[in-house]
Symmetry: C2
Subunit: 664 residues, 2 copies
């Protein structure tokens, strides 16, 4: 193959039994002659020796610190390190020194814009969680302020979000209907928020942020679609003016409840409701079509609230059947730490609700943060963000706020409106502060129908059937995961829907390992390349060899399968070679390049396979086993039993070396 | 690199966008000059196009028919096919025509040998399951006969086994103590056996046999060790002569119960008990040390039973404190189909017990069958065996038998004694038949202590601490799985112990995917080989390139991690290259050889990565993406965005082609 014969051998370590064996046999590198030219055979190394403790250390650092978060601290003076640490824990110190009037101007514009969205959405989402509307405004005041000190995303607009509100509303209302015991419900909501915060901060602190990765994009797509359908249908209550509506969240009870209470429908409500819904959907459509006109959709909710409130106030006598928000107290967030309950029969419910809303809001917040960070070319540390969001919720639970996170829709508006730093959150919070202090009475005659319309407009975008179709096109199993979470949420319940979807995703990984791909490799003539003969027509089988590629770690879950499958490949290849070349198989080469790990069941399989092939006078050769695989083959003494001609660095060297040995 | 320039190009399909693009650019193969020599660049193919239906078909056939069980049927006449089908479903037709007297002689010897083991063990194991001793003999009669018609293993000795007996005894006794309602207990035992059979046969019929692979060897090792410890301690009841003993199965209650009832210890019982135990353990040791003397250990249990019965009968007046089996009815298995219960509050318990004992006995039976098949060079079809074992248990449940399977210890004796076919099972069943019809009164004065000693001798070998140590040496995570099932069984319960161990095993797979190995590759000078620079000191980094190997499918569970990790590698490599070579990085090559799959999250990651690198003026190149990965890259339009210089067949070609392009 025209390689220059060379003398530089691969270093090996004292533990390299195979290398030692070969060294005993020959003191110069093995040189093989193939088609008149000479090529060297390389030893396969064991990885550098490490103690169990070192391995554990390496493994733990890969699991918990893959991004090497402290690399900036290396080779710095002590003072610099202190400053870096301060900036690390309080990102505000990073940008505050360079903050300028220009940046502030942008932040004020974007802050006011998201405030105009946050106020109506805050009220609406609180309704969605079955909470008093004012809780939604409280939640748009304290958490953004805390996030602006701790958070590292520049574009995240913090506040209540639809999914977490929906899930909290469902889970708590199932056990403690709000209208039966509002005080207990409120207590549980704050307690759940506290636990959500604790859970989020703990995940971040223990650097376990990767657990949110198990909610794959496909799963979330289905979940959000299902939740959006349920939420939209639930808004029929507000849109149609029904007073007695089901508390259930499955599709069937909600629909039948809407139809059963036909007599409660109020025509003033639904005419006005659908008009405003149409207005909001139109502005949303305009905002999406022309990103420059984003302010149209951003301003629409507040405009609708003002317009509808004015209408209802003016024509109060004629529109008395339209339900309104009613009296709201002026004033700042009252403290609520005395409302947290850490005992009693509902504690388990509060913890469960906290964990589920916590993980969902975390997923949204982190995803939004990462998206806008990538768009604007900065990085967000997921684990640090989790701590920030967690602390913000813990603080929120003590100041009459419920679960908050970074909202996707408002963050998009924030970025579009030109937000440069988290100061836009401070501006928004200040606007909410003014509202809380002075403008609350204005909401007295705001009709509930407008809140329903705002919610529908906000969640309708979550039903993303085009992405679902794309999933179907690219990855059928992802589509199944998406569908199962969609129908799980719609038909059973939110936690079950999520559990099913995570189950399907994990099953997908297991299936991949349980039934890995195997293929027959052939040589592309005139090269050292070996490829799948079914994929590359140019790849030709090598007489006397069966060369198999295995594309998975060899684990307990697939060792039996792989053994059967390899034997079947050998049988089929023997038949093929006998029919086409008239040669018989002498050697089976297994390309281990993609075998990224092996466990004790896998090792037993290799040992067994070697024995079975020996009985049939076939030689077993492993090509290019990876570091950890080599190590385990060595530790289990299989390497020795394979002998010096049992392991090669590449398939090509194995074929060349063995062919020339046979000729000799 | 001295390759002959050649014109044969890899075939590509109409869907191969990349290939088409390249064809537009050049109509002759791209030839690149490296160090004065010419080499060809190969296109990367898409796999042959398949419809969704074809893919599903392929996938299903790999999941359910990996061993191609019907390959013998191909190209056969219709009559031959019929005969083959008959032989396929009833393996007896395979060997019966060639059965000879010579074979029969061997089978009689081995059949009598295992009968001498099966009778005392049958009685003992029934005791272990809290069942009347005679059920153990019934279970050694009907099931072996059925297996001899349906089973395909030649060496399996069928009957009750310790683990399944223990588990059934524990699970049923927890809910329905045997001494409170023996009749209900018996009904539940038969019902559980029936469900075990249904479950086993269904698994086999649906070809879902691979589920037993999820009980990895490491898990089973720990599980069996834990069960053996518990079982041995429970035998203190019989060995010490305690009458009031706990029904619990955890280590603490058992030990404390033995000590609390010190006053019930009978010295005649424990002196005799420990003497026989010592005798049995010694013979077991001899049999293990010298395989030729296997008959010593095989004959010992029956000898002990006879000897102890004679002793107790002769000195009955002095040994009255020794508990004996008592009166046993003569006669064949009575029908028990009327005792199966399919309703009521205990149905769920019976089903659960059936499934757990079913899967455990299946695991033992299949493992034993495979082990002796491999030793004697024939193959056993796991799924067919499952159907055989399942039908045998269903039939057993209707003829007063409880769960049976292939016993490891008796099968070993069977093979050692020279069994050639399943006829040895028929011989054994006939011997049991004679015993049932005529010899039952002889067991009247057989002391319970001897059953305890037999059980301890049988299970003590399951405590295999040497294998556990080997696990620790080779695979720490397997050791953890082993330990957790050991302590799970010992401290909590059998089902929980199993569940924890399966959980740990699955977690191991998930960890492997969630935190895959990544490494920097370098060129081994003078070759086309690229290897991990940390493992191969000879592998040298190539200036201007960062070449990364990823050793896992890119899935939702690791796409975030991989993105962060790749960016960190690039950062670190940029620093290294700047410090050592003074060059800056121009191109990032990702070796996809070990990336065996990609899902939509992974695709999004690649797209994102490409964008991020573009912003930093770095080119992203994928080397050797596999068939399914290529297909998905194409379907999601990433292939087009990578362009014609974004995908190469090997790292070497990528480096060579891009270097020469830069020079030009």
């Amino acid at each position: 193959m025209g390689l220059n014969s060379h003398n530089n051998r691969v270093d090996h370590y004292s533990t390299s039994v195979h290398a030692n064996e070969q060294q005993n046999l020959t003191t110069v590198p093995v040189s093989v002659t193939v088609s008149g030219e000479t090529m060297a055979v390389h030893n396969v190394c064991l990885p550098p020796e490490k103690t169990t403790w070192q391995k554990l250390q390496h493994r733990l650092s890969e699991v918990f610190f893959p991004d090497d978060p402290l690399h900036g601290f290396k080779n710095q003076s002590r003072v610099k390190k202190l400053i870096l640490a301060l900036q690390f824990f309080f990102p505000i110190f990073e940008w505050a020194p360079n903050y300028s009037f220009m940046l502030f101007r942008s932040d004020v514009v974007s802050g006011l814009t998201i405030a105009s969205l946050a106020i109506p959405q805050g009220i609406s989402y609180a309704k969605l969680a079955n909470l008093p509307p004012i809780i939604g405004l409280y939640s748009s005041f304290v958490p953004p302020l805390i996030y602006s000190v701790l958070g590292s995303s520049k574009h995240l607009a913090v506040g209540p979000v639809s999914i977490a509100s929906l899930v909290m509303g469902t889970m708590l209302n199932d056990a403690v209907p709000y209208n039966k015991d509002p005080n207990l419900y409120l207590k549980l909501a704050f307690t759940a928020t506290f636990f959500a915060g604790v859970f989020q901060a703990t995940l971040g602190f223990l650097r376990l942020g990767f657990v949110i990765d198990f909610l794959s994009k496909a799963t979330l797509l289905g979940f959000m679609g299902g939740a959006a359908v349920i939420v939209s249908l639930q808004q029929l209550k507000g849109l149609l003016g029904i007073t007695h509506f089901t508390n259930k969240m499955q599709i069937y009870p909600v629909l039948s409840s809407a139809i059963q209470h036909r007599n409660e429908w109020s025509w003033q409500t639904y005419v006005m409701g659908f008009c405003f819904l149409a207005f909001l959907l139109t502005t949303r459509h305009i905002g999406m079509r022309k990103p420059k006109l984003f302010w149209v959709s951003a301003a629409a909710p507040l405009t609708s609230v003002v317009l509808s409130t004015v209408l209802v106030t003016l024509f109060r006598s004629k529109l008395h059947s339209i339900a309104t928000i009613g009296h709201l107290d002026k004033g700042l967030n009252p403290p609520s730490s005395n409302m947290l309950v850490f005992h009693g029969q509902y504690l388990a419910l509060a913890i469960k609700t906290g964990i589920i809303t916590g993980i969902l809001s975390l997923t949204e917040g982190i995803a939004v943060g990462r998206t806008f960070a990538a768009l604007n070319d900065y990085q967000v540390d997921g684990n640090k963000e989790m701590i920030a969001i967690g602390l913000m919720n813990m603080a929120g639970s003590c100041s009459s706020c419920y679960v908050t996170t970074g909202s996707f829709s408002r963050s998009a508006v924030n970025a579009n409106a030109g937000a440069k730093t988290v100061v836009s959150n401070i501006v928004m919070a200040s606007t909410v502060l003014v509202t809380l202090l002075f403008l609350m009475p204005l909401f007295r005659y705001t009709p509930n129908l407008i809140l329903a319309a705002i919610i529908i407009t906000a969640v309708i975008g979550l039903i993303d059937y085009q992405s679902a179709l794309r999933l179907w096109k690219v990855d059928k199993l992802d589509f199944v995961a998406c569908l199962s979470s969609f129908f799980g949420v719609l038909m059973i319940s939110v936690p079950m829907g999520l559990a099913i979807a995570v189950g399907v995703s994990v099953f997908k990984i297991l299936l991949h390992v349980t039934r890995p791909n195997t293929c027959v490799l052939g040589n592309i003539t005139g090269t050292q390349i070996y490829q799948n003969v079914n994929r590359y027509k140019e790849a030709k089988r090598v007489p006397c060899f069966v060369i198999l590629g295995i594309e998975a770690p060899i684990y307990f879950a697939n060792s039996t399968y792989l053994q059967e499958r390899i034997l079947r490949w050998i049988r089929e290849e023997e038949e093929w070679l006998a029919a086409n070349n008239g040669t018989s198989v002498k050697c089976v080469i297994i390309d281990m390049t993609a075998v990224t790990g092996i466990d004790t069941s896998g090792l037993a399989m290799v040992r067994e396979l070697k024995k079975m092939l020996e009985k049939r006078s076939l030689q077993l050769v492993l090509a290019n086993p990876g570091g950890s695989v080599m190590e385990k083959l060595h530790q289990s003494n299989i390497l020795e039993s394979l002998g010096s001609e049992g392991v090669y660095l590449t398939v090509n060297e194995a074929v060349a070396d063995m062919s020339s040995a046979w000729k000799a």
